[in-house]
Amino acid sequence: MLTLRPRATAGRTLRPVGRRARLFDPALLVGAVVVAGLLVLSLFVGVYDVTGSADGAEMFAITRIPRTTALVLAGASMAMAGLVMQMLTQNRFVEPTTTGTTEWAGLGLLAVSILVPHPSIPLRMLGAVLCAFAGTLVFFAFLRRVSLRSSLIVPIVGIMLGAVVGSVSTYLALATDTLQTLGVWFAGSFTSVLRGQYELLWIVAVVGVVVFVVADRFTLAGLGEEIATNAGLNHGRVVLLGTVLIAATTGVVTVVVGNLPFVGLIVPNVVSMIRGDDLRSNLPWVCLLGVGLVTVCDLIGRTIIMPFEVPVSLVLGLVGAAVFIVLILRQRPRG
């Protein structure tokens, strides 16, 4: 059922990997140290002085540790979701924000809040994940049906699809007088990540482990349906599994943190530009870079107008838009 047309390959010609890439190399260690340094920095940046005050240790445990954990989980998982999506659609410009998945998750979240008076966080998550799943299936169904002349059409259509879903959400929000609340939910921010409120984000860690385990299958599925089937892969099942993983990640992250635009787009593209396309050996890099990017953007957001905060989604939106434009321009046919 769930097969994607191989003709969409135009945008994703796999880059060669040179020699068999090793899973662990010294560069990865250096990268890990740098990201760890950023995370430590994130633990100690903030208006409240956690080292000097009497209740500093307690505040540290209530806000700083959850926030930094959330940065790691959300950054790594969104980057991986983007990577899996790009593999499955064979298009480099696809990720949850450019296919409407995020908007679907927001719609689900809003629908649950309207239908149930005071929804619990797991219930909201369920709504968001289910809607994100349905929305991703709609997008994949569309990709299967149409033959594409240009890989750039895919994100254009995806963004328009997102706009449609967004207009439905806006209508619902306006009708129920929750427009400004919707804006607050949607702007991804780690400000409200506190002990006792973010623990469900650990679900995405499970998703991450699954991606690591089945990475080779996604690589194979990325070669197109014919080749994958020829190599003995149940292509439809792998696509379905990928969709579930993407929807779970997007839904959970949207509910706990909000919208994190472009993470899934920039990170895998930059990694693949430098290292070629071998999902298994790239995955640790994608995770690291995802965590690094989100952490840096969050640090910028936290410090730029101290003592207030800029939502991380704004910083990501600006940085991401700029990098995305560079990526598009790079792949223009040379004149």
Binding site: R145, S147, L152, S313, L318, A321, R332
Partner: protein
């Protein structure tokens, strides 16, 4: 192939005794005439309805005509927006060689939102009033057109120019602007946000009668130019190779069309605010109803459809449901659903 041939007006065909016009059969021609007649009737009905229905003063008295005069503004605004959106979208889809895009996603609306939000952010609730006035209106039109022209000039000219790259970058820049606006909106007080939100949904009520002397000529001139270029649009629709072979410089013609589209979209957006899917809805319906590829025949149907959709929606919501504020949102909703349906039913892009 047959439809492609039909799209090219055959001037010399009559001499050969065999004609190949916009319609394959006489039945199709009759159907088109019927469609145009119906749409004209509906459009006229909805506009006249908006003018005179529910007038509390008895017919024929001076008070009656005064109220009608007051309502003329909103009818004119509806006409301007309908003409601008319909013509711009049909022409844009032809220039982009793609029937499922709409010019409004290309940053016009994000720019409008950003300008409005910045004004409220900097000046408070007074910002909205600071943006009202003919010079401010003109400035917004110039800003949006300038943005579009800069984008075209950068990405569409030269040998590496590409329509898809231009579209995508327009959307992404729009997204970046949207992020900035969202952030500023978060810092507003709820009452300021309410004032702003009213401006961010396309509404005929946003328009000021004093803009019309500027908006009407702009809209009429740009759409008239597009109407006179309808034959060239037909050739443009054949794709770059065929167009160049037929003597129409594809890239140059594309740029001209897009420039006119930018003027139309900028005028409409600055006048009433964002209407993302109105143009798309109207263009899709127009192709469906006109059932031809000849722009000389599609454009009028599109304009009439736009008047019917916009005028009809206002009439129904105002007099049947007493909820005129929701018009644009409902049009968005219907347009968005049609977009999804078209996407899933259509086999190609």
């Amino acid at each position: 192939m047959a439809e492609v041939l039909a799209a090219v007006p055959a001037r010399t065909a009559a001499a050969a005794g065999r004609t190949s016009g916009a319609f394959p059969t006489a039945g199709a021609r009759r159907r088109y005439v019927l469609v145009v007649a119906m749409l004209t009737l509906l459009a006229a009905a909805s506009l006249i309805g908006l003018l005179v229905h529910g007038n509390p003063v008895p017919f024929g008295t001076a008070g009656f005509w005064r109220i009608v005069q007051l309502r003329v503004t909103s009818v004119l605004v509806i006409l301007v927006v309908a003409i601008a959106q319909a013509t711009a979208t049909v022409a844009f889809q032809t220039a982009a060689n793609n029937r499922i895009v709409t010019p409004s996603i290309m940053g016009f609306e994000s720019l409008y939102t950003a300008v409005q939000t910045t004004a409220v952010f900097v000046l408070g609730a007074a910002g909205v009033t600071a943006l009202q006035g003919v010079p401010q209106f003109a400035l917004q039109v110039v800003l949006m057109t300038g943005f579009a022209v800069a984008l075209y000039g950068w990405l569409l000219s030269g040998r590496r120019g590409s329509m898809h790259v231009m579209l995508l970058i327009g959307i992404v820049i729009g997204g970046g602007l949207g992020a900035v606006s969202t952030f500023m909106q978060r810092l507003l007080t709820p009452s300021e946000f309410d004032v702003l939100a009213a401006r961010l949904f396309g509404s005929v009520a946003n328009a000021d009668a004093s803009y019309l002397p500027l908006a009407i000529p702009l809209c009429l001139a740009a759409s008239a130019l597009l109407f006179t270029r309808a034959r060239r649009l037909n050739v443009l629709a054949l794709g770059p190779d065929a167009a160049n072979a037929l003597g129409v410089g594809h890239r140059r013609e594309q740029l001209r069309v897009l420039l006119l589209v930018a003027v139309l979209m900028a005028t409409s957006t600055a006048l009433v605010g964002p209407m993302t899917f109105l143009g798309f809805l109207v263009a899709t319906l127009a192709y469906q109803w006109a059932d031809t590829h000849d722009h000389r025949l599609v454009l009028p149907v599109a304009v009439l459809t736009a008047v019917v959709v916009l005028g009809g929606a206002y009439f129904v919501l105002k007099h049947v449901f007493a909820a005129q504020g929701a018009v644009s949102i409902i049009i968005e909703l219907v347009g968005g659903s049609v977009f999804l349906l078209v996407l899933l039913r259509k086999g190609r892009l």
